[in-house]
Symmetry: D2
Subunit: 344 residues, 4 copies
């Protein structure tokens, strides 16, 4: 089979860099075009020296004609960009995986409320497939436009979906206390993200409402078939990579939660249910596309605690995007994603 011609729009952030890292090691892919206005003419390896020797490709200016010759284009752009360029590319027959939030919400009104602008192509929202393979594998295979999930939504929903689908969750109060490494905030020159600000410290942020909240709600509500009263508080951890979601809910009927989890994810290549008593560490998935989950019932009561870890840039971003690409083109789902995590 000819190698897939792949384009990346906006590959100067961490998600874009991670896409590059994964794709230079993917046997079925040819990196055809990587665009960036700011980086035009520069080798990607000049910006990300760890790619030296792995790719000689240079950034070019965004150009729809070039992108239109790709089999698939990844958008690794800030929110509000992909929605302007997707319609033309789709018309040209190019399939799209959008890593931004542009196509994650079905409801254009909700989108506008959280992003402060009208959605540019609301008619595409219904066509977009939410790219969580553990939930939507079959639709992803046929999708032209995949909305790649956010990092928090991935970690949280993988921990909760089995229980919501099985209808064993007391939906009157679900708590998602989530912790993220600093790379989750992106490669942006902001004071709050400086080493001297985020180092040797820990804090919550956006406790009164984070922009990932409506995406998580949509996911949980759809899985449950009814509204779930979710409280979501994100925190910033002094580490580069990793998300740890600690999820609290009550069982509304007796069930073996570990068996339920293990059964739900049986055969899934990228979800690992740990044995009873385990506590997954974020480093155990660093650089890998795995989600590791453990479960506790602190005092054998109906209170369940689920611990779910991912690498925010891999399963929470670029890795899941590659997994979606593999599905869309009939490749083995783990192609390019099979290396073990890097630890210690």
């Amino acid at each position: 089979m000819a190698r897939l011609r792949i384009g990346i729009v906006g590959a100067t952030g961490y998600t874009g860099a991670e896409l590059l890292r994964l794709l230079v090691g993917h046997a079925d892919v040819e990196l055809a075009v990587v665009t960036s206005r700011s980086g035009e003419g520069q080798p990607v390896a000049a910006l990300f020296p760890w790619l030296r020797g792995h790719s000689q490709i240079q950034y070019c200016a965004p150009d729809s004609a070039t992108l239109a010759k790709c089999d698939l284009v990844f958008f690794a752009t800030p929110n509000g960009t992909a929605m302007h360029q997707a319609p033309a590319l789709l018309k040209a027959g190019v399939r799209i995986v959008d890593l931004s939030a542009d196509f994650r919400l079905r409801d254009p009104t909700a989108w506008k409320n959280w992003h402060g602008q009208e959605h540019a192509c609301p008619e595409l929202l219904a066509r977009a497939v939410y790219g969580l393979p553990e939930r939507n594998r079959d639709q992803i295979r046929k999708a032209e436009l995949v909305a790649n999930p956010g990092c928090y939504p991935t970690a949280i929903s993988l921990g909760l979906l089995p229980f919501l689908k099985a209808d064993v969750v007391d939906a009157s109060g679900v708590i998602a206390d989530a912790k993220s490494g600093v790379s989750g905030a992106g490669r942006k020159a902001e004071i709050g993200l400086l080493f001297s600000e985020a180092g040797e410290s820990f804090k919550a942020y956006s406790a009164s409402g984070h922009r990932h909240l409506p995406e998580i709600r949509q996911l949980l509500d759809e899985a449950a078939g009814h509204a779930v009263a979710l409280t979501f508080v994100p925190h910033l951890v002094p580490m580069v990579r990793g998300i740890h979601a600690t999820l609290y809910f009550r069982l509304k009927r007796k069930v073996d939660p570990h068996a339920l989890l293990a059964d739900f994810y049986s055969g899934e290549p990228f979800v690992d249910i740990m044995p009873a008593g385990a506590h997954p560490e974020t480093r155990s998935v660093r650089g890998s596309n795995m989600c590791r989950i453990a479960i506790h019932q602190p005092q054998l009561s109906d209170q369940v605690v689920v611990l779910s870890v991912i690498d925010n840039l891999v399963k929470g971003g670029a890795g899941q995007a590659v997994q979606n690409m593999n599905l869309m083109f009939g490749l083995p789902e783990d192609r390019g994603l099979s290396t073990a995590a890097l630890a210690p």
Copy 2:
């Protein structure tokens, strides 16, 4: 006034080192005796070079005669040590602040269950005053034996007490998702505490039951006047100092939680209620005895989120011990504890 003659038993761990740091800067204190079997004959500044130039005192072997000449002895020993030495010292008229868990639980059966041995002097449990000044200031003033609170219990209870005392908490489900820097685990040569294990990673631990749980339960139940269904999950943060407790509960009646908090702690020297919308960082209390608290009601519902930060070694350990000592001897409560936190 003559300076207080102070002894420290077991000052080779982090809590002991922090006591030394605070006491060498305390105007009313003379460090009379610092014991350690392993360090005997060595200057404390050899073990902790940051004390060079601040104290020339040397470790001596534990000796009850020397300790008996002190006005007050701090125990900074592992659990199970103070309970053997306290009775004789109390008999000799020496007042005690125990930083271990030996005297924190009132119930000797609970103590035995969690510590795996019989308590050596159960009769003292009732005489011991739990050293949380914001709750027991008057008893502490007169106490002969103060059980200095644990770090998690301090951070958690300071965030919950005002609401429990006001009887506005739905006690059927309170969640304490707590995060601690690695120094909270002590200065112990354990693989899991190595830089290469705890660095660049995040995990929960003891999710099915942490040894601080009964202490927190006792605190909350007593404040509420009835049982509170608490779920407590501690996590390890790749930083040295700091605890962040994220506390979730529901209001059982309408109340302004920010006003209630501010009112409860009005005049307290070491609790700072932050303005609405704030997110306290652990570094904002690093090296200081302050507890900073903020409150959120994510969707203006009855769900309350309290964010509470302390330095585990100061307000969660040595600083609170000094605060207790100040109270016990009629000194200004903030003597030796008034420096600002060290940040960035």
Copy 3:
């Protein structure tokens, strides 16, 4: 004695924040005016929450009339600011400690070469006293304008001065391999200073010429009485605070270097010569004004290795500025600077 009326110009960076932290705990100082264009009207504690409860002062717009009523004004501004405001303040009788590089070089041509602009008041360069008390204590006492040393120059020169003054250094090749925490680069929104860039990594920077180089050269050459061939390579360490200088030179005649060091700094309040075989850690001076120095002669040859650590924001910045202020006003030199370092 009335408390000194102190002004700070530009207190929104790390050096300014550290000045605030030290001065709110200084018994002889009244913080009279703190200026910042960007922060005007805001309490300093809103920007730096660790100052909550320690100062209620607000930033005001820079205003020469207000500053002119101060006894001393600190400039914690970017390079190129103090030189425009200093002349008028000096004329008004206000003494100045400038923490920027504006008055550190005696030669206006060198200044221009390294800073890319003409010096605004070259005539003041000769009047400025270089504020390294261990070298210029007497001149500092009488100075109207003190050029507070840079962080690298402080750590490096304190390790080399005794040997250069004693004329025992082979000046044909001195190596200063220096390592700094990230706060040394300031509170600037730059990609390279992000946690996700500087974390879990180590690198050299400006290996071909750092802006502190001429200042270090001037210091060393003056101490030696002749040119010293210095190679200076700075590195960035994934920590917030601290500088470690590793200094390599050869003895041109036999001498006991440890004795020489200890003798030179005998009686100095802020230089601690460690015993033979020691390796100072940067954390042993964190938050303190101390410089800790150790010395090694790896194979008992004429090759000497000096290890010198400071906190870049204290002895390498705000602390040394306060030490200079104390000297200028006849206060005890360690007033406000006597707390032990914060470790671990």
Copy 4:
């Protein structure tokens, strides 16, 4: 070709874990036996959860019969172990790559001096090939016993060899100021390696003589053909992985050092010479077998500064061991070592 049957002795440390990580992804290898007394019967993935799903192998007790059936055995044991087991295995026709220091020095007296015991099989020292492929590629291909280089020696020698071989170095004074992440010290329960000790701090150690010194000396002296006066000072960096060597020497004749380097390493798969002005970051080689080198001539003088970075566990340990194995069995040299580094 049948897959190579590989054994690992002592795979419970970081080097062993890294060997496991690399070998589970190596297409030509079958992990036949992994020994550990302490871990006997336990799956390796229980100790290193990031291997879950990548290998089901369990630790077994060291057993020479089983090991004797391997094609190659790696020793990832503490110093002083391999020398006792190597002779029998070699006799059985098993090839060996020893990652400890047992076979690195040619001189048994030097070995005894630095390791405090007699060497158990001094006759093998001459047969052992020093496994630095950039120096000894051909001998490695035919070797039965490879002494895998230490991490510091690898980073330092790769930066110096080209200049020493070209005889352009003033050998009267070469300085190697090296900095290592904490994993370089191994997975040992030692106080000094705790997160709370090594975090947020920086220090030199073993400044008067590190156990890697004789190995580095032997390497440099052999390359130069005469004695090189080396001063080597290692430092501990608050990060998990990475070594940065900053190397200082003087040219004894005019030469273009960048061209010399680039020429020397032309065609080398695992040495990357960066463009002029660059500063390699340790993270740019994290998890990869690459050594990145840059060169500076600070003031265009004869003083040269070489910056050399490796991942201490990969090119400085397990990766180089796999590279050696590939050479020994005629596999492509980069087999199993071609993934890009993991950054950020």
